[in-house]
Amino acid sequence: MPPSSLPFAILLAALVPPAYGADSGHSVDPDTGAETWATRRHGVALSLTQILPDQGRAFYLNRGFPTEAAEVYATSCVFMAVLRNDAAPGMVSFRLADWTLVSAGAARPPRPVDDWQAEWRRRGLAEAAAIAFRWAQFPPEQEYEPGDWNQGMLSAGLPPGAAFDLTARWQVAGQSYEGRLTDVRCAR
């Protein structure tokens, strides 16, 4: 293993909501300054924690990304997203394509993983780096039985410092639910 892999994984492990368990709120890591927005609705917990550009660069450079590619992703407003089915009344299913980011009056979903993968193909990214990228991302779609969860990177596709409101949508037994995070800010 590259000697740096362990520290990077530990760093990623630290990118979690400091106030995990709260019903909703915002917190700031006193050491890194990374901000977290979290909510818990209908038995589903959702949080976004800023991944600072230097943290993103470090992670992907050590996964074999060329400097330019790591820079493009690290400055695309990246968060560590955690979504879990803690106590929903059944299986939760979602697609990131159904989520909405509203920033400066424009609404659209987070930048799709497929878009990023197409960009990496254009740039000729090595296969190992592309695989690491894909599986480090928050799943584009997923199903969670009670107790299931994921933690992964999510790119808003916005410039550093941009602000947005996020509406996350999911379904349980054919019924639609949503949770909102407001005034989320991209790391600078």
């Binding site: 520290p7 890194t32 470090a58 894909r134 799943p139 039985e145 969860w149 994921n150």
Partner: protein, 179 residues
């Protein structure tokens, strides 16, 4: 070394410290496995381990097999790995196979050497992620339990405490012919 790289490494050092400081705030590993509807055969799984030795899930028919998909850079994967080894020790009749996605043997070996307890179950390499896709994994970690008849019995998405009494009881029942 570029300035950007140097700054990144500073963040890594900060991360090392934060990893310990924030441990109490990590999303909790859950416990319990979700039953899979009967009659779904497990996909094929034929991979080599860190020593290049081939392993074939088909040869394990008659046993309960836990198939865990993971990577060394995946935080919940790292956290649940010692629990998998404790599960193996608690239920020696259950086979554990951990499938690393996209990394090489040196990377996996170096990481598992830091674990306590260190895994003694086979660590398989899915370098091109073909197995991951065949098993329709959507996120890491993902774990499947294959019953003695070769069909999927349970699944779990996200980190688990595999040595939790609830999980151990589920697997013990399965190994005893019940679900």
């Amino acid at each position: 070394m570029s300035v950007a790289r140097a700054k990144s490494l500073l963040f890594v050092l900060a991360g090392l410290w934060l990893g310990a400081a924030a441990a109490a705030d990590l999303p909790p590993l859950t416990h319990g496995l979700t039953a899979v509807a009967p009659g779904q055969p497990a996909p094929a799984l034929k991979l080599v381990d860190l020593d290049g030795k081939p392993h074939d899930l088909a040869s394990l028919k008659g046993k309960v097999v836990v198939v865990n998909f993971w990577a060394t850079w995946c935080p919940p994967c790292r956290r649940e790995m010692p629990a998998l080894e404790r599960l193996r020790r608690a239920l020696p009749e259950v086979v554990v196979l951990a499938v690393d996605v996209g990394e090489d043997a040196d990377t996996v070996f170096a990481f598992t050497g830091t674990l306590e307890p260190a895994p003694e179950f086979p660590l398989l390499l899915d370098r091109d992620s073909a197995a991951l896709q065949a098993w329709r994994v959507k996120g890491l970690p993902s774990t499947f339990v294959v019953g003695p008849d070769g069909s999927l019995a349970y699944r779990a998405v996200g980190g688990r405490e595999f040595d939790h009494p609830e999980v151990v009881a589920q697997l013990r029942r399965l190994a005893g012919g019940k679900k």
